[in-house]
């Protein structure tokens, strides 16, 4: 159905809400993001649908929704009573439980973690949802669901009478900063592009989420794709672009599928394409696929990739907002940044500024993973303390182990130790702590993790992903990896640590793009907080966490060994010998330190030093 005027959007929303109120008394929401499906949500959805139709319940709506963020208990089902708004969430659901769930039985999840129905009650909760407002609440494949929740209302407001400059003013006043990691003020970027006189301008949505351990953009695209489309049309109007491109990872097939459905629906409703809402403004969208290159998250590299070339970054200036794709003014914004736009237009810049900190207003979505009890996707106001995230929402460290550090900002970020956990986090404080916001991956490490090994992991990542264009990053990264290898192999000297510091500084200052400039961060941050651990590797030739394989020796305790021969049979280097029922011995000269014997021994007879 074509929506032809801005007023029509609000009218349609009211109609849809009235209809839903009459027709549906209960909603059964099954979380169907990529990980929900991997955990088995599809058979659950089918079983619930079957059960509802078998019981002849015509007023119960069973729908697949996006990620609610309760990754630790997936698959999850939420049952909402439409009349009272009350809801219950059940975790670890199986298809066999379908009937019981409809009767209100199942493993209920405490709502300290997630408060869906609590939009008015902002006190006593750690989360605040702007970006994930609809994720887990609506069927992402139904535009009507989005419209009923004030979707496309912001676009209607804009096209009903705001001048493009006024839109840029609102976004500037809101203080919204780029959520892709850098934190550049979005309004300023838009203003630069809007001020360019050009016959052609481009707007790009950066959905090339490459940070390992970050999946918030995927969650938004899978759970609320229309929010991104709406924001892109608004941004296109504000900067004077008629072409939008969504550059999305090819590794996200579900996100791509839902984006395509959303685009078709938006086009059919006249919300993208020619003469949008009868305003005369035209804006069209297309999708481009990434092909597995981390550096393409950098905007100039991304633009080169869209142009069909190797994704190597280019010098700035000129900035893309002045000369980007095909040499035309181009604005590149991240998915999460876009998802904030409709809410800011609807509720105003002042509302947005109340949330978060003065320097970084709004919320941030984080993926908390690693050694934490409640792994999940959360959206919190900026300025929250890491302690509240890790020990509040995340409910502390797995298996009763001790917290060691939290890694933020992915391969460009750093580690934050216990002493800084109470710092209110935003773009600026994280930078001060030697880390960065990045795209919002948050990996929790415990006492069993070796910080040198973690730093090596990230340096290996940036080394592999370096595009090779500039020498500091290409050669420096490799060199740094070599030095870290030396440390974890127990072959380094104290001079090597100094060399690393030196080298890190050079790579930081002399690299061409953000990838190289931030690549040494994981090393510098771990060196700053955990120097003792580096020294233990170098001076004592020991890995305190017991992670670095080549610094571990395995031996067999003859008292405990029963001679069961299991370790000898499992040893890939065949360096364990001994007769059955007699104590075995490891030949240290042949041992490859793989730890298979340690893991396989049923009598705890293998000693690890």
């Amino acid at each position: 159905m074509l929506i032809t005027t801005p007023e029509h959007v609000a009218r349609l929303a009211t109609e849809l809400r009235q209809h839903a109120r009459k027709a549906v008394t209960r909603q059964v929401l099954v979380s169907m993001g990529t990980c929900g499906i991997a955990a088995g949500a599809t058979p659950v959805l089918d079983a619930l649908k079957r059960e509802v139709s078998a019981r002849g319940l015509t007023d119960v709506d069973v729908l697949g929704v996006g990620c609610v963020g309760l990754c630790h208990s997936e698959p999850t089902v939420e049952i909402v009573d439409r009349a009272t708004g009350a809801s219950t969430i059940y975790g670890d659901v199986t298809p066999e439980q379908a009937a019981a769930l409809l009767d209100g039985h199942g493993r209920e999840i405490k709502k300290t973690w997630y408060f869906p129905e609590d939009e008015q009650n902002a006190e006593n909760r750690l989360q605040a949802r702007i970006v994930l407002r609809n994720s887990g609440r609506i069927n992402p494949e139904r535009i009507e669901d989005y419209i009923a929740r004030d979707g496309y209302q912001a676009l209607a407001t804009v096209l009903a009478g705001m001048k493009p400059e006024a839109v840029v003013d609102v976004i500037t006043a809101s203080g919204l900063r780029g959520r892709g990691g850098g934190g550049f003020p979005t309004g300023r970027k838009w203003r630069i592009a809007a001020g360019q006189a050009s016959d052609e301008k481009y707007l790009i949505c950066n959905a090339d989420e490459g940070d390992p351990g970050a999946f918030m953009d995927r969650a938004v695209l899978e759970g609320d794709p229309h929010a991104v489309l709406e924001a892109m049309v608004i941004a296109g109007y504000a900067i004077g672009a008629e072409n939008g491109i969504i550059y999305v990872r090819a590794e996200y097939p579900l996100a791509i599928k839902r984006l395509k459905i959303a685009m078709d629906q938006a086009r059919a409703h006249g919300l993208i394409g020619e003469n949008i809402l009868g305003s005369g403004f035209a804006f069209d969208l297309s999708i481009k696929y990434g092909a597995g290159a981390f550096v393409c998250g950098e905007e100039t590299a991304l633009i080169r990739s869209i142009a069909g070339s190797r994704g190597t970054p280019t010098f700035k200036p000129p900035f893309p907002a002045v000369a980007g794709l095909w040499g035309k003014p181009t604005v590149v914004n991240n998915v999460e940044t876009f998802a904030n736009i409709p809410a800011i237009i609807r509720k105003g810049a002042d509302w947005f500024k109340q949330i978060g900190t003065p320097g970084s207003p709004g919320t941030k979505v984080f993926c908390i993973t690693g050694k934490i009890n409640k792994v999940g996707l959360i959206e919190v106001p900026m300025g929250i303390a890491l302690r509240d995230i890790i020990f509040g929402l995340g409910e502390g460290i797995r298996n009763g182990r001790k917290f060691k550090a939290v890694q933020t900002g992915g391969p460009s970020g750093g580690c934050i130790a216990e002493k800084d956990l109470d710092t209110p986090i935003d773009y600026d404080t994280l930078k001060m702590l030697g880390s960065m916001m990045g795209s919002g991956g948050m990996i929790i490490l415990d006492e069993d993790d070796c910080m040198v090994d973690v730093a090596k992991f990230f340096v290996q990542f940036t080394m592999d992903e370096s595009c090779g264009k500039c020498t500091p990053c290409r050669v420096g990264g490799r060199h740094m990896y070599g030095l870290l290898e030396k440390i974890t192999a127990g072959k380094a000297t104290l001079d090597d640590i100094e060399t690393i510091r030196d080298l890190a500084q050079t790579i930081k200052t002399a690299s061409l793009c953000g990838l190289g400039m931030t690549a040494p961060n994981p090393v510098l941050a771990t060196l700053a907080c955990f120097e003792a651990e580096y020294l233990a590797h170098v001076v004592d030739r020991k890995c305190p966490a017991g992670k670095c394989a080549r610094l571990i020796t395995y031996a067999i305790d003859p008292e405990l060994c029963t001679g069961c021969t299991l370790c000898a049979r499992k040893c890939p280097a065949t360096c364990i010998s001994g007769k059955p029922k007699e104590a075995h011995v490891i030949d240290q000269s042949m041992c490859i330190h793989c730890g298979v014997c340690y893991d396989s021994c049923k009598f705890s007879a293998i000693l690890k030093h």
Partner: protein, 175 residues
């Protein structure tokens, strides 16, 4: 996007042997709005390579040449792009593509041990394909299923919370 036919691995003269696959690729290129500006025409290269890899399973030289010719690009441009992006491969891959996720969450939860176990069980190095074209063992950077870490992806199927002990079961599932 796995090859739909799964019978084209390693064969020479793919384009002749599979005219229907060639047709599918050419049809795709026909539908693009080519022509005009050479520079902008290059913007379709990555789309075409995605399509070609979906059809053939990998990108052998003859397929690269076909794409290059249609887009009026030098072979160096085409192979340069293929070698840059890890998604593209010019080598045939096995029927079961085993991808061990080595993203950060999987790394801290022991992905290295999972990879080692696969290497030993299959007798393959990382990135290698078995001679019978049954398995390709590789690593992948974060599939975004961090809550299930460590994760292994076999073709499109995701296995979560993998332990070294489960490796044998996963391999068996491929039988």
């Amino acid at each position: 996007m796995a090859c739909s036919g799964c019978c084209c691995e390693g064969r020479a003269n793919l384009l002749e042997a599979y005219p229907e696959k060639r047709r599918a690729l050419e049809d795709y290129i026909d539908r693009l709005h080519l022509g005009g500006d050479m520079e902008r025409q290059k913007g379709f290269l990555i789309d075409c390579l995605h399509q070609a890899q979906a059809i053939f399973g990998y990108l052998p030289l003859e397929v690269q040449e076909l794409v290059g010719k249609r887009l009026r690009l030098q072979q160096a441009d085409v192979s340069g792009v293929i070698s840059f992006y890890s998604f593209f491969t010019d080598q045939p891959v096995g029927r079961h593509k085993i991808n061990v996720c080595t993203g950060t969450a999987c790394f801290v939860r022991g992905a290295d041990k999972i990879l080692e176990t696969f290497k030993r069980a299959l007798g393959l190095e990382e990135g290698a394909t078995s001679e019978d074209m049954k398995f390709t063992l590789s690593t992948i950077r974060c599939v975004g299923a961090c809550s299930l870490a460590p994760v292994v992806m076999v073709n499109e199927r995701v296995y979560g919370n993998v332990t070294p002990k489960r490796v044998a079961t996963i391999i068996k599932d491929c039988e």
